[in-house]
């Protein structure tokens, strides 16, 4: 509008000022157009910015930490008896308490009112201990005072009478209500596990010996469970037995001695358990529990530390109990008194003698948070299966419940980037294994192998692309005849538009097998081709003038095409006989035996070439522009002073154009880092951490493409994939911005010269 005002002359005021008929409509249209463009334009730009905001919003919860909200505190519901075991149901609404009087008390977790009470069959004589067969399924074993064991299961039925949720607790007896005969007298420290039809019970008798009994359970054709007893074993453990821990897969049995702080590791077999070794904890042991998955045990030590242990193999392949990592309570003077593991993840809560509860994640090696919850010492801790509710019971019998919001405990800087000692591995490793079908296998979220793979792919692509693209750009911009340049430049630029899926497909299904069978030929070409070209040039200068003048200036590249084709053909033709003579006919086997280098068919070399081909036109196009737009008077001046073409190029043109070439490389790098399909198709997609040319890799982008569709929305895995996306976004955006700024500077400089 200001422009139209500026050009308005006084005589046409009536038109401009809108007094003429029809003017009002025109002005309305003009204003409307302005608004539409403003809104549309800003909307589009906003939508593009939204990408960044959205990615960030998906990633942020990863670093949000945990929140704990206390519910009302209440006294222990039900009879005044000792509490042996507590559990909370899936929804965090109903709790279960098992007393030493053999009673199951179901109570409301909000107000502590008793919902249901049931007596355990045979429990009136008293219960000495409760063992978890499977916390997830609610299967428990009660050790009765007479030495026998009752198996039972607590379940919760959800119904919706009148559209309100009603949860009804139930008690079932999967192996019958009749107690199983186990020991002859009362025992303590019962542990029970059932695996593939076998049920194993173990407990400590009054002599301090450990007794083990095995039952085989079989379902008959009527669907009834038949239980067959086996011989009872008894052995004297190497340490004083205070706590028993039995592995769910029934391979290992740990006997823990409290005072001296020792753990004896036993391998279960058909005969008596064999002692593997005794391990010193280093402090008095207060409590020891299995984590979810049944591989790791965590031990609460009186020196304020909690240690994690699991079986690993040493160099000789022998199993030992490895002290993997330890955690400290934030308050140095507090002792850990209770451990409450989550049922599905490797998170556990530790209650302290000062009444605080700290949340830890084992694999991430991290303390998530600490909350002061009770005044006195904490005796018991229990999560509900979904880990949204945590129950803390004080030594004084007070119960306090907490709503826990702890979505992403697995993430810590160390878990993402460092070497982590995962369960069932023998040493700390960098691993990415996101798919965990069951809670028995912990997901392994190390981004390092993916980042290394990304950089490795980009690195090999750049090694291949930069020389070709930059040298090619120099010749095209500086030496090539204009007619030829008009053909060559668009042809190479069209390559930029070649769908990467096609490059990936050719790389994976044509190039990879080709390189595998012609590896010597490939290397021979890489060595001989650059050597042969200057020799060709020299030979050319020895040709008779009549022939040389036939080639129009600036067409050398065209002349080289048949020569290069010939050299490549010769290289591959002589490579096979050379391979037969030098490498015994199989270069890969030779490399493997002699150099110890493994070979994957789809490897970084193939990716480098394919991605290089994708990147060459990008770099070429920008670098060529930069060189071509170097002001002509600079080169002419240099040549006029007697410099040769090469001197002019190296001393004048390239220094002037170097920022442009730098930005070309940056933009090419950005493309190589984010390239998805080529990597997906031309590598084996194994997330490994090495820089070998002959092994594959998995990149951040390919990882997203592979795993995103199967990822559960909102899970840690899902958000980590978004984190990978965000990293790619920010990285390429910064690279491109840098390149763009450099280029604009360059443009300004050219206009000044």
């Amino acid at each position: 509008m200001s422009e139209s005002d500026a050009v308005a002359a006084p005589g046409v005021e009536s038109i401009i000022a809108g007094k003429a008929p029809g003017m009002r409509a025109r002005y309305l249209k003009d204003a409307a157009a302005r608004w539409i463009v403003w809104l549309g334009g800003l909307g589009v730009i906003g939508a593009l910015m939204l990408i960044f905001v959205y990615l960030l919003s998906e990633v942020m919860p990863l670093f949000g930490g945990a929140h704990i909200d206390a519910r009302q505190s209440f006294a222990m519901p039900g009879p005044a008896a000792q509490t042996l075991y507590v559990a909370a149901e899936e929804q965090g609404e109903i709790g279960l308490r098992v007393t030493d009087g053999g009673e199951l008390v179901f109570f409301d977790l909000y107000d502590g009112s008793v919902r249901d009470r049931q007596a355990l069959p045979g429990g009136d004589a008293g219960v000495s201990g409760i063992a978890e067969l499977s916390a997830e399924r609610g299967e428990l074993a009660a050790h009765l005072r007479d030495g026998s064991v009752t198996l039972f299961r607590h379940r919760y039925r959800v119904s919706y009478p009148g559209d309100r949720r009603l949860i009804t607790p139930e008690v079932e007896f999967p192996m019958g209500a009749e107690p199983l005969a186990f020991m002859d007298e009362a025992g303590r420290g019962l542990v029970a596990r059932s695996e593939r039809g076998a049920l194993v019970l173990a407990a400590i008798d009054t002599n301090g010996d450990v007794q083990i009994k095995r039952f085989d359970r079989r379902e008959n054709f009527l669907g009834e469970v038949e239980v067959q007893e086996r011989e009872r074993q008894r052995f004297t453990p190497a340490v004083k037995a205070d706590i028993l821990l039995l592995e769910p897969l029934l391979t290992w049995l740990y006997v823990v001695e409290r005072e001296a702080g020792r753990i004896a590791m036993y391998r279960l077999s058909s005969g008596n358990p064999e002692l593997v070794n005794v391990y010193d904890v280093g402090a008095r042991v207060r409590e020891a529990r299995y984590l979810a998955g049944g591989i790791s045990i965590v031990v609460a030590q009186d020196d304020g530390r909690v240690s994690q242990w699991f079986p690993a193999r040493d160099e000789g392949g022998q199993y030992y109990l490895a002290r993997v990592r330890e955690f400290r309570l934030p308050d140095g003077s507090a002792r850990p008194t209770a451990i409450g593991p989550e049922l599905r993840r490797r998170t556990f809560a530790v209650g302290g003698s000062d009444g605080s509860v700290s949340l830890f994640h084992a694999t991430a090696g991290r303390r998530i948070g600490t909350e002061q919850v009770l005044d006195g010492e904490i005796a018991l801790l229990a999560f509900n299966p979904r880990a949204q509710y945590l129950m803390a019971i004080g030594a004084d019998g007070q119960i306090r419940g907490f709503d826990v919001d702890n979505e992403h405990p697995e993430v810590s800087f160390k878990a993402l980037w460092g070497r982590v000692w995962y369960e069932s591995y023998d040493e700390p490793r960098l691993l990415w294994q996101s798919s965990a079908a069951t809670s028995d296998f912990e997901p392994k979220f190390s981004i390092t192998p993916l980042s290394v793979g990304t950089l490795k792919g980009a690195f090999y692509a750049m090694i291949f692309a930069i020389p070709l693209a930059i040298l090619g750009a120099i010749f095209t911009a500086y030496f090539m005849s204009p007619e030829m340049r008009q053909i060559v430049k668009p042809t190479v630029e069209i390559m930029a538009a070649l769908p990467s899926v096609i490059l990936g497909f050719l790389a994976g299904l044509w190039l990879a097998p080709f390189v595998e069978t012609n590896l010597p030929g490939v290397f021979l070409t890489l060595i001989l081709l650059p050597l042969s070209v200057p020799i060709f040039g020299f030979a050319w200068s020895k040709m008779p003038r009549a022939l040389r003048y036939r080639v129009p200036p600036g067409w050398e590249a065209a002349m080289l095409v048949p020569a290069i084709a010939l050299v490549v053909w010769v290289c591959f033709a002589i490579a096979k006989p050379i391979e037969a003579v030098v490498f015994g006919g199989n270069m890969q086997a030779w490399m493997d035996h002699t150099l110890g280098i493994g070979y994957d068919q789809r490897n970084a070399l193939v990716v480098g070439v394919a991605m290089g081909v994708a990147v060459i036109p990008v770099i070429f196009s920008i670098a060529e522009d930069a060189i071509f737009t170097v002001p002509k008077h600079l080169t002419l001046g240099s040549l006029a002073l007697g410099a040769t073409a090469w001197q002019t190029l190296v001393r004048v043109v390239l220094p002037t154009a170097s920022p442009g070439m730098f930005s070309a490389v940056m933009i090419g790098m950005g493309r190589a880092v984010g390239e998805t399909m080529i990597v997906l198709m031309a590598t084996g997609n194994t997330p490994i951490t090495d820089f070998s040319m002959f092994s594959g890799m998995r990149t951040l982008a390919a990882n997203v493409a592979v795993e995103m569709p199967e990822s559960e929305v909102g899970s840690t895995h899902f958000r980590l994939l978004f984190l990978a996306g965000l990293v790619l976004f920010v990285f390429t955006f910064l690279l491109n911005t840098l390149a763009e700024v450099v280029r604009q500077r360059l443009r300004a400089r050219y206009s000044n010269i």
């Binding site: 422009e3 139209s4 050009v7 249209k29 003009d30 157009a33 302005r34 334009g41 909307g43 589009v44 939508a47 693209a469 090619g472 030496f479 090539m480 005849s481 008009q486 668009p490 190479v492 069209i494 390559m495 538009a497 769908p499 096609i502 990936g504 497909f505 299904l509 044509w510 060709f536 040039g537 020299f538 040389r548 200036p553 600036g554 590249a557 084709a565 096979k576 037969a580 003579v581 006919g585 002509k632 080169t635 040549l639 040769t644 073409a645 001197q647 984010g674 998805t676 399909m677 997203v704 493409a705 995103m708 569709p709 929305v713 978004f722 790619l728 955006f733 491109n736 911005t737 700024v741």
Partner: protein
């Protein structure tokens, strides 16, 4: 080109420069110049070779290759008769063959190895085999060898003994013409069956599903059959109608299916096994060794047509790719409809309306750089924002009756198009802006001076002049979208879509459906297919088609750009 004498002068030196010694040659810098020339030659050769490779590998698939009959005598094994197409040959070192467990002579360095397509997967288990050329003896090309393309199990290679037409066996020299006649009849019947199954029964199923959802909707609104019988009555009536229609079609279909199973052929493999194959199982049959060049050319084009117009068979490893072409085109069209107006609006804003300050410059750089952000990131955004957030919201608001099955809350063609629109927006914005910037200021000022408002100037003068630039931007956007695969894998592409996104059922275009895509087809068939060797030529052919489309689009964009430049060159002076 305003190139002055410079390159020629320099090049003159390069070509004609009389260097006498190696030292002078090296010192002159010429070896480096030759290297730069070699670099561009290599880049050029690579480009051309890539295009050539896809064509050379894809197109021969449609050419009926001769069938070679021979005996394969591997030392230490019983001789095996073979009837096969030779697919490729290569030189292999003896050591590699020894590693593969073949009893070759280790003294000899090299062997020739052939890849044969032997067909008959149902009999031998594999339809491709590597053989050592030396051991393939007694080679001949029998004139009456036949190739029968089957719906299942790939091709059959062998000899035609007889054709059983309506219970009568025709053998001998008439067998071939009888077979061809019977095949034409079967083809016609198959067309009818497909029409009924896909179109008519498909429409009935679609209608039934809609009726179910309508009834469910009524229930969600709190109406039951008891309380509102009048609401349910028309639904029930229509369902019964559809049911009756279905029964009639079912009967017709049964009759057709009986008809199509009537005839069969009796064939013999090269090792003498006899087989009877129902004609309903056959798609096509030919005798390659008898065909002349003309026949083969006709066959070639027939196959090419089948390839682009037919649906895939056998886990996408045979048949055509029509649904993939259709999906790609439709997705690109929806994307264009979205991206063009918004891209132009944004460009107009940035160039014509926004204050040209540091902020606008920053926005411009940011938009430029979005073009360099990896496409997979756009895919993640599409999946998270469009599919889960927007789609999930739409489902809760408008499609409660479909729950728990998602309608828009799952990847589909609309979300894929929108994602690609976002991805290609920078391309359109940048191209349009460039076009707007090229229009001389004088032109605008002339329009304003004549009393036109700014909107009128833009609409009547600037935009028409910038239209070729917008075209260029759109074409480049389409070319990029057509070749993009990674984001689509997250937002709606599938390996086999049962229905096209457009069909004869109301509302005719189904935005929520998943679709097939050429690029994803290449990835899927080339890498996820159970029979990669058989699928490979098809993938090459698909690649060739895709490359052709993308290259043509790009060439046209470049041509438009060049014409545009010519046009404004005149205006500049």
């Amino acid at each position: 080109m305003e190139q002055t004498q410079t390159p020629q002068m320099i090049a003159q030196q390069l070509v004609a420069g009389d260097t006498t010694t190696v030292r002078a040659y090296v010192k002159s810098g010429q070896p480096w110049i030759w290297l730069t020339a070699a670099a561009i030659s290599v880049a050029f050769i690579t480009t051309v070779a890539l295009l050539g490779l896809t064509a050379a590998r894809g197109l021969p698939h449609f050419w009926p290759a001769d069938l070679l009959q021979a005996r394969y005598e591997q030392p230490g094994a019983a001789p095996v008769p073979m009837l096969a197409e030779v697919r490729s040959s290569e030189e292999v070192t003896a050591a590699r063959l020894l590693d593969a467990g073949l009893p070759v002579d280790p003294q000899r360095d090299l062997y020739e190895r052939l890849l044969l397509k032997i067909g008959n997967r149902d009999i031998g288990g594999v339809d491709f085999r590597y053989v050592v050329s030396d051991w393939l003896v007694d080679r001949q090309t029998p004139a009456d060898a036949v190739v029968l393309e089957r719906i299942e199990w790939g091709n059959f290679h062998g000899f035609l003994d007889a054709v059983v037409v309506d219970g009568n066996s025709v053998a001998g020299s008439e067998a071939w013409s009888a077979y061809q006649q019977a095949q034409r009849r079967v083809d016609a019947l198959r067309g009818d069956i497909r029409r009924i199954e896909k179109k008519q029964i498909g429409a009935i199923n679609y209608e039934l599903e809609r009726l179910r959802l309508q009834a469910r909707r009524l229930e969600i609104d709190g109406k039951t059959r008891e309380s509102h019988p009048e609401a349910f009555a028309p639904l029930d009536r229509r369902r019964d109608e559809q049911g009756a229609k279905y029964e009639a079609l079912r009967a017709e279909l049964n009759a057709l299916n009986r008809d199509i199973r009537r005839d069969s052929v009796r064939v013999r493999t090269v090792d003498g096994q006899q087989r009877t194959i129902a004609l309903a199982q056959l798609v096509h049959g030919y005798r390659p060794n008898r065909m002349g060049v003309l026949d083969k050319t006709l066959h070639f084009f027939g196959k090419v047509w089948e390839f682009v117009s037919d649906e895939p068979r056998e886990a996408n490893t045979e048949g055509g790719i029509f649904p993939a072409i259709f999906g790609t085109v439709l997705m690109v069209m929806i994307m264009s409809i979205v991206v063009t107006p918004f891209g132009i609006l944004a460009a107009l804003y940035l160039r014509e309306y926004a204050h040209q300050g540091a902020m606008t410059r920053a926005i411009r750089i940011a938009v430029n750089n979005l073009a360099g952000v990896p496409s997979i990131v756009f895919g993640m955004f599409g999946l998270g924002f469009f599919v889960y957030f927007l789609g999930g919201g739409i489902d809760r608001l408008f499609y409660p009756e479909a729950a728990p099955a998602p309608v828009f809350g799952t990847p589909g063609i609309l979300w894929a198009s929108l994602t690609l629109a976002l991805l290609t927006l920078p391309v359109v914005i940048v191209a349009t802006e460039e076009g707007l910037a090229r229009i001389p200021r004088a032109t605008r000022e002339a329009s304003l001076a004549l009393g036109a408002t700014k909107a009128e100037t833009l609409w009547r003068v600037v935009l028409p002049m910038a239209s070729p630039a917008m075209m260029t931007g759109l074409i480049l956007a389409i070319a990029r979208a057509a070749g993009e695969v990674a984001p689509l894998m997250l937002v709606g592409v599938v390996k086999l879509a049962p229905t096209l996104p457009i069909d004869g059922n109301f509302p005719f275009i189904h935005f929520e459906r998943k679709f097939m895509h050429l690029g994803f087809h290449i990835y899927d068939v080339g890498f996820q297919s159970p029979n990669v060797e058989a699928a490979r030529p098809l993938v090459y052919a698909t690649s060739f088609l895709l490359v052709l489309v993308v290259v043509l689009l790009n060439v046209s964009a470049i041509m438009i750009r060049n014409r545009l430049r010519e046009r404004y060159k005149a205006l500049d002076h």
